[in-house]
Amino acid sequence: MTTPSNGPRAHHTRESAESFLAELRASAADLSSRSIRDLVRVLGSVGTRFLDPDDPLRKAAEERIPEEAGLTPQMTRAVIEGMARDWTPTRLTKLVEADFPDPGVLDGFRPGPNGDLLRAVGGSLAFHVGAGSVPGVGATSLLRSLLVKCPVLLKPGRADIALATLWVRGLAERDPDLARACAVEYWPGHAGGHLEAAALRSADRVVVYGGSDTVRELRSRVPPTTPFLAYHHRWSMGAIGRERLAASTEARRIAAAAATAVATFDQRGCVSPQVIWVEEGGRTTAGEWARALAEELEALETSLPPGPVDAATAATVQQLRGTAELRAATGTGDRVFAGSGVGWTVLYETDPRPAPSCLSRTVRVKPIERLEHLSELLEPHAATLQSFALEASDERRRTVGEALGRAGVTRITSFRRQPWPPAWWRHDGSGPLQALVRWISLEEPEEPRRENP
């Protein structure tokens, strides 16, 4: 059902909330009658529309997102395209196959590896709670539930309403029956009323994106028997090995890619790098690379301009800059590179320990003696790490990557790919569709006879 509004639907009575959810739940029958192949085709056809600049859905998204999410039109286009690239039939197929090598398990029992039959079911109602202001996260989440044939109520983040709503509208245009299996409803935090309460109480699965407070609060309201999936806030980083700094053109190319990774989503993404280490001993020093990064961020201020910065963030940027300036003045070797406003800041810091930035394209660049020392620096932050752009030789990417993984990183990538994890990525370390299903196994009446060795 299409309920594209942030309005009165949230003001449910207990009864109306329950009947609203019952209606959603009732669509599970239709959903489960579709084959996964058919679902991918239909859902993918909706997603593809967002890649066409002339499509009315795409146009509506371009119109609504800048104001809603505080992104510039250029950034809005980049975000829509980056997100929608993963909503096409091809990419959705890859997503399904990555989590289910035999996608038929979503349609019915299929032979498993040990003679049993296996089937994956998504349930009859999922409740997803989005976060913040990265447009497209909500629509992606909703899509995942539909792929496992589970009706879904999405409460998007405040600045992610448009894309989710438009996506559902597109689905309604293409396949009204299928669209009955999803609803997008926005309400401000703590104003969920009966609908939120009923959804938390009765959903088969609750998926929450958000900060620790949100996750803690919602988790406490979900029955202990309900699977609860939390994508809590995380942060990302990067590092450059000295072997990639031999040629100044390559150092510059990496700086350009890193600047784009920082700038994308105005650094609000959990995939946005906040700290970058530069290994010492390369032809380009860490300080020189920091300057190159600053120049690239400066250029992006024109080609991919940042949206408005709220006062609290600007205040923190000024504090970081002012403190860094003092550090520089007192001879620590630290430096600050900054634009005229607060649109971007590069803090060159000699202290190798990571610290998150305040966003708004604020990035810390730190020299490090050897990339092999990274994992011990990251260990204190294990629970909140996510994507790590590792620019190094193939061999070191594997050895250092191994250590990063042990330290808590779940995705090792390059700066170029960092902002756009592929549809099939192991989201925060697990398969995104696998996390949404329950397995049913149908065993043979007798245990298979053990074969002779």
């Binding site: 202001s133 959990c270 609290a312 003045a329 005229s340």
Partner: protein, 385 residues
Amino acid sequence: MREPTGTDESTRRDLRRELLAAMSEGVQVPWSEERFDDLALRIFRYQAEFNPVYRALVEARGMDPAGVSGWRQIPPIPTRAFKEFSVAGSSPEPPQARFRTSGTTGGRERRGEHPIRDLSLYRASLLASATGFLRPEAELRGPDWADRSLRVLALLPDPQERTDSSLAHMAGVLAEAWDDGKGGFFLDTEWRIDHLGFQRALDQSAGLGAPVLLLGTAFAFVRWLDGGPTRTPLPPGSRIMETGGFKGRSREVTRVHLYAALSDSFAVPVERIVNEYGMTELLSQFYEPVISEGVDPGPQARRHVGPPWIRTRVLDPETLEPVQPGRTGLLSHLDLANLDSVSGVLTEDLGIQLPDGFRVLGRVAGAEPRGCSLAMEELLSSTGR
């Protein structure tokens, strides 16, 4: 070339004497621009020469202290610098106190520290302001003046036990100068309320005895009021100073409610309930001048003013240029009482520039999280569990 100066100690002695004399005049008579500039610039040159951290900043900016001609050109340091640097000037003796900022972010982040070389400057500054804004009917007579006809009840820890709290110290100074001997402190060192003790003190103060000055953080008052409906009408002439109420809270809702509840609970009229805005990094404080002016525009329309030896600019958060009157920006203070550290302090507090003061809006956090990225504040709180 710099002007020839005396030694740092003789320069400081003169500045200190001048400051103490100025503070003993009280807060009611405003200073001319020239008077403030004159003292501000001499203190700036002193700090630019003898405060190592500040001197480094001034030199790194290529500033010639002698060429600075107005207080608005004096560069501030950010409040976060108090967490990383020793902001004290060079001093032959150890500090008399080390005030620390509260550890609000899960305890992982280092707390800011303001080493106080000379508590007498703090005492003189705070006593003059408190007299002018909380007790304007009294007449300040020098820093050693005392008039112990009030009862000072503080929902704050005892300054003897929390020697690192500038706020508790301030309450201690007020109690020492004003309390009739029967007041006290009713938070323990962990800032928990001694409910029985406080109730007993209130009961003993009720009726027609000495007027009470009730001091406390907004947070403590809220907890006290939440504890149960105990109405204890305080004697006529009583007043309440509430502080720390802005950070992270919605001013519109909580202040109006809090003041109404306080007024109801203690029979103190709302126009005698005053917010104090102060910070560990500053030795001077700002108050809502409702008692001193005898006019209250209502809790939402009030403004803050400080003593004449502190001036505040409201700066555009993006450019750090002054905003137009009526606009919102970051508060940047120049507190001459900070003689022994750094006078210029850029805060993270937002305020509105008014013709004669400013209105504190507090730290305005985004209404919703900014994204799925973990920003610094949350990281610090999430790892502190």
